[in-house]
Symmetry: C2
Subunit: 295 residues, 2 copies
Amino acid sequence: METVEIFEVGPRDGLQPEPVFVETAKKIQLVDMLTGAGCKRIEVTSFVNPKWVPQMRDAREVFQGINQKDGVVYNALIPNMKGFERAAESGLKEVVTIMSTSESHNKKNLNTSVPEQLKIIEEINKAAGPEGIRVRSYIATVFGCPIEGSTDPQKALDIALALESYGAYEISLGDTTGMANPDSAYYVPKTILRALKKARLAVHYHKYFGLEFANNLASYNAGIRIFDGAAGGLGGCPYAPGARGNCATEILTEMFHRMGVETGIDQQKIEEAGAFAQSLSTLLYKKDGGVACNT
Amino acid sequence: METVEIFEVGPRDGLQPEPVFVETAKKIQLVDMLTGAGCKRIEVTSFVNPKWVPQMRDAREVFQGINQKDGVVYNALIPNMKGFERAAESGLKEVVTIMSTSESHNKKNLNTSVPEQLKIIEEINKAAGPEGIRVRSYIATVFGCPIEGSTDPQKALDIALALESYGAYEISLGDTTGMANPDSAYYVPKTILRALKKARLAVHYHKYFGLEFANNLASYNAGIRIFDGAAGGLGGCPYAPGARGNCATEILTEMFHRMGVETGIDQQKIEEAGAFAQSLSTLLYKKDGGVACNT
């Protein structure tokens, strides 16, 4: 039996850009539903400065409130050492860093340069290792940047190798604004997969009216077995013009299940979690005057 | 340069299930926009009994009203000989027949058995040949039937070979209710493609929240180079419970264009035609109490 691993980002990447604060209890409920659906790795929240991302200001409370199940890894996005320290205080066993291939997007998103952010991530890895905390690292704008245009795959490869050298447990290639196509979704992950010696490799596609599933399929065909998804397909990026929602986990699992590929996730329960996530979204219902399609 | 052929079905398969009659002038405008976007084959309407499909009761007027451009083939769906005669009277050079692999769906959709419908299509081919009219033939429910469940691929193969023996110019494999997956979308077309001696082979996917693009990609990887789409992703099937819209042409072309595959279609103009098609739909806006997502 063939299996893939789904990395659930809905509570963080899905809810983060929501303009209306989602009650802490609802966030906890979403995470618990995802646990109940069989998700084994869940990006619960983000330890960022609440001044910049007020939606995630309850990071600590969410972590305290969720029903943590054995065998499930609950993690959080951290932009810097401060975030790492808060995450470590909350007892996390996995943290997620982020940076872009693109200087312009990195600056907008993190207010650092690419070399500065690499340095920060190196420090995070140095601090995480001794504490037994795993580091997952996003590389954003791998398949194109909404500001700079096309991305040289060599940039993503160089960054991936640097991240691996710092000790990254896993690297996830982000298509921040849904610019990938089945060719780039095949050859970029394939190239990086071949080059990595130890770090695991995932892909993280954003929506483009359904093309995200063709892209996930292409990456699967390239040998990728770890896929990021957000229940309900929520999301976007406030610092990436044109960013749409994340690839919907429940459609991704439907695709794999139809192919007979095991995900460990219960299809009906993840659809329920997706529907619940959508019920928390006002962003999803804002486009085109109240019509629900952040596709 | 690699090219694919897009077979546009929006004016027929997209509009057909719309419960509110779409003005003839609007239908004509849609066809003209599709011609303007560079579509080379357009399924304009259906010569069916207006008692059963009142939406298509203006088939003749639509054909008279459209601005037919040299090099573009305008065709129509015909369920039987009566439809063929009406289509021939309207001067069509290509007609499109339909039947299902599934007895239950064939009965509901056409009120004939599978062998009866094969006989009808054989007669249509006999009549079409001498008049220089090409016959395109849909096989519906190839990747599963909403009534009968899974479909034995052998059934689709047998029907395809029968249709070819009658003289079909082209066969299109229909995923009537979006039940395909990237595996079946690869191996079923591949198997039939290998077996056909002369007839061309197309695929016709319906929506399942975006999986239709993964399915089109899989069929492309299997060697298919003719793809059906409906501008705006409209559609459904009144006799197929659970049927969703058609694969949206403008997203399909976007996928191919990103891959550097030529479609002959102008991306911006097909997006405009898609948006116009959506503006004609009330069905699209009915689901979930007024929310637009017939995905």
